[in-house]
Symmetry: C2
Subunit: 310 residues, 2 copies
Amino acid sequence: MAAKILSGKDFADAINAETRVEIERFREVHGRSPALTVVRVGNDPASDVYVNKKVKTAGELGMISHHHHVADTITTDELLQLIASLNDNPQVDGILVQLPLPKGIDERVVLESIDAKKDVDGFHPVNAGNLWLGHETLVPCTPAGVIEILKRAGIEIAGREAVIVGRSNIVGKPMAALLLTENATVTLAHSRTNDLASVTRRADILVAAVGRAAFITTEHIKEGAVVIDVGINRLEDNSLLSDVFSDDEIEKRAAAINSRGFTLIGDVNPRDAAEKASHFTPVPGGVGLLTVAMLMKNTVTAAKLRIQNL
Amino acid sequence: MAAKILSGKDFADAINAETRVEIERFREVHGRSPALTVVRVGNDPASDVYVNKKVKTAGELGMISHHHHVADTITTDELLQLIASLNDNPQVDGILVQLPLPKGIDERVVLESIDAKKDVDGFHPVNAGNLWLGHETLVPCTPAGVIEILKRAGIEIAGREAVIVGRSNIVGKPMAALLLTENATVTLAHSRTNDLASVTRRADILVAAVGRAAFITTEHIKEGAVVIDVGINRLEDNSLLSDVFSDDEIEKRAAAINSRGFTLIGDVNPRDAAEKASHFTPVPGGVGLLTVAMLMKNTVTAAKLRIQNL
């Protein structure tokens, strides 16, 4: 059996097309576009790529976006003052503080200082709480994107066994809440789980979010499962390529390692998933592409909810 | 194999003895006892019993307790004003609004109006969120009590399979968060779960919180599992007794049904649990007795956290 590949680009394009229409409607009704502000502290190069992608996509969809780039010498107090001014600004609908923050800045205090109604990353305790309590809220973008993939691919969730490997606050736990809301029987597995393969082999829907390259292999996958790979890892060793990629992929990946020192790989061995799963999301080109699309959608949701409650 | 019965009274007594010491220490340091205010709306007879039990236990442990009993003609706005005054009162450490509220009062708005730092029921979204994010917080009393039972009984949780049946905001979901924090592999099952018995039979630790009398039977229980019964249901039919109780219990239960019209039974068939489980909590006399003890403990925790942060 050859698994169907769930391409993130197709779903992201579809969501962005819908968001563009929502933004246009919002502007017609309220006389301005929804507005996203991204706060970036310091010069982490990966953050540079992510922030630019977010700001660029916002612009392409007709949203207003601002990018506050501040030096890593900023103190927690100064950052809190910046966020307070954004909280108070009625022209700002969404605030995103790009992680990771430099050492010495209290990440928890910073994230909790964002007005929960503008917290388009969905990391604020109020939003995490409302998610679990079943209330409308701003949901973390990556797990929200996974639900979009499953629904848009026509995969039934209700009554099926979902197993999530990894229990991060950003992916694993909110993923559990969302799959539960969709009436899956949900298991959270993690580094302390005994005999992980016997747990993951129960999964009709398997979500891998552990941050370990090709960690999920054939022994972990039930025949015909839907496998969602949330991991994005760097593979720097040519010798591993033949264990994880198909023949036509190996050459391309080897070229990437030779030219820039690494190739990206998920938490799932893609060759094993292709053989055993019914559907799987590739890395790159899978779940990651949904994250920005869901951020855009969240910003529009935040703008609408705020205006409703003014 | 005959299961060991985990008596709630023993654990509740032990926790209350510790709380009494904490209250005494708090008074020595801060010159006053921790204070709990219970708000009761209307005349639900079950609430009467529960509220009296809470107020009485608080007094016995040396805590200050107040009972605001207001008529069911109170409006949501008036109730919000009462809660606002309790939020502002520095002499009040814990606020508990007894549920259910009369129809016409917006329960969600009322619960969200309680200062999260005084929310000793742990129902506020901020507290639900902090629980899932792994931060110190006020935790719902019933699932917190289950963890106390497991730990005090010396039952290992880390690495074991825990299955929770029922996904309420008050029990099932926070129970999942707490068992996950203790490093169990956690599954949330519910009314939409397919082949429930095959899911629950995986459980080393099985928590039943569905509100259906004797719903969990021999087919659901793995030999040697720890079975925690959170349900409290009324059994009014004599003819069912022989299916669920041991011979020496039947006569006692029949007498209860004859005299007051019902006997209490949990979500687990107690005869089946006694035969297959390694440990189980009885109903009555099990988890229910921990709930008030955990409320007392939460109130002391709330008092300490507030004073630390003043």
